[in-house]
């Protein structure tokens, strides 16, 4: 399985994301914002950081890159899975590939801590812990997205509506989450629960 790790100017979690994917058996490659065709990849990973300084709004400027254009056609062709972590989630929302938007935390501060979550995927619920690190991570939406939510905060750190920490699109081919699974992957001090998220992606890919 081949995964692309997207690096925009200002992305800064690509190294850990790539290492986590490789530990999970993916063949990986960095791609930059000018990439026009993603068809060779089974999975596209938008990793965390501050793309283009997160100026205007988090993820806004990244939206206007050839890479995001090529994501639209990637989705249209139903080629593979797209996953966005933190800034990647913000970009997917800004690009309207996922519903809703991410706005400034209720506490008006950057929050970096390990936080308890409920993972709810395909009917199995599980308590996990993952680190969060963001200033604009409060999820907001109108209407009902509950059937698409797979990750909820147990101690809401940012004011997200309905404690939403992560969700996928209606075809389960695009997923976004604010917590950083790649930071709970290699080190016993921060736990290994991040592997649960990578497992879901792998299982989804196997499902085809």
């Amino acid at each position: 399985m081949k995964a692309a790790v997207v690096v925009f100017l200002g992305t800064n979690c690509q190294v850990e994301t790539k290492a986590a994917l490789e530990a999970y058996g993916f063949e990986t490659k960095y791609v930059d914002s000018n990439t026009k065709n993603l068809d060779e990849f089974d999975c596209i990973f938008l990793s965390g950081g501050f793309s283009y300084g997160d100026y205007l709004r988090s993820g806004r400027i990244a939206k206007f890159t050839p890479l995001v254009e090529s994501l639209y056609s990637y989705v249209e062709k139903q080629r593979g899975v797209i996953a966005g972590i933190c800034n990647g989630f913000q970009i997917l929302c800004e690009a309207h590939l996922l519903p809703g938007a991410l706005i400034e935390n209720d506490c008006l501060k950057f929050v970096c801590k390990n936080t308890p979550l409920e993972l709810d995927f395909n009917g199995t619920k599980k308590k996990i812990n993952l680190p969060v690190a963001h200033r604009e991570g409060k999820y907001f939406y109108r209407g009902d997205v509950s059937e698409f939510v797979f990750l909820r905060y147990l101690k809401n750190p940012n004011g997200s509506k309905d404690n939403i920490a992560g969700l996928y699109d209606n075809k389960k081919r695009i997923m976004g989450l604010m917590p950083h699974p790649e930071r709970a992957f290699f080190n016993e001090n921060f736990g290994f629960d991040g592997r649960e998220i990578f497992k879901i992606i792998k299982d989804e890919l196997k499902r085809g």
Partner: protein, 92 residues
Amino acid sequence: MIILKSMKNYAAKVIVSLRDDVKDTQGLSVDKMLKRLNIEENANFRTGKFYSFKISAQNLDSAKEKLNFICSEILSNKVVEKYEIIDLKELK
């Protein structure tokens, strides 16, 4: 982009703010502060971002069109934000 000689320059001023049904946490914290300082109660404080820039267009109508595009597609995210054009006038 082709810029024709007949193009005129317009000065645009825009405010982008959170839509009314989105909680404006920064605004609320200013509200609280105003109340605490006994300056104003229920000030209904809202925050936003101000942008000013130049656009070129053949006439005011096409300038407006261009401006609306910039505001809706680039400066704001309609899920959470709205924009208001404060001023658009030709630069002489």
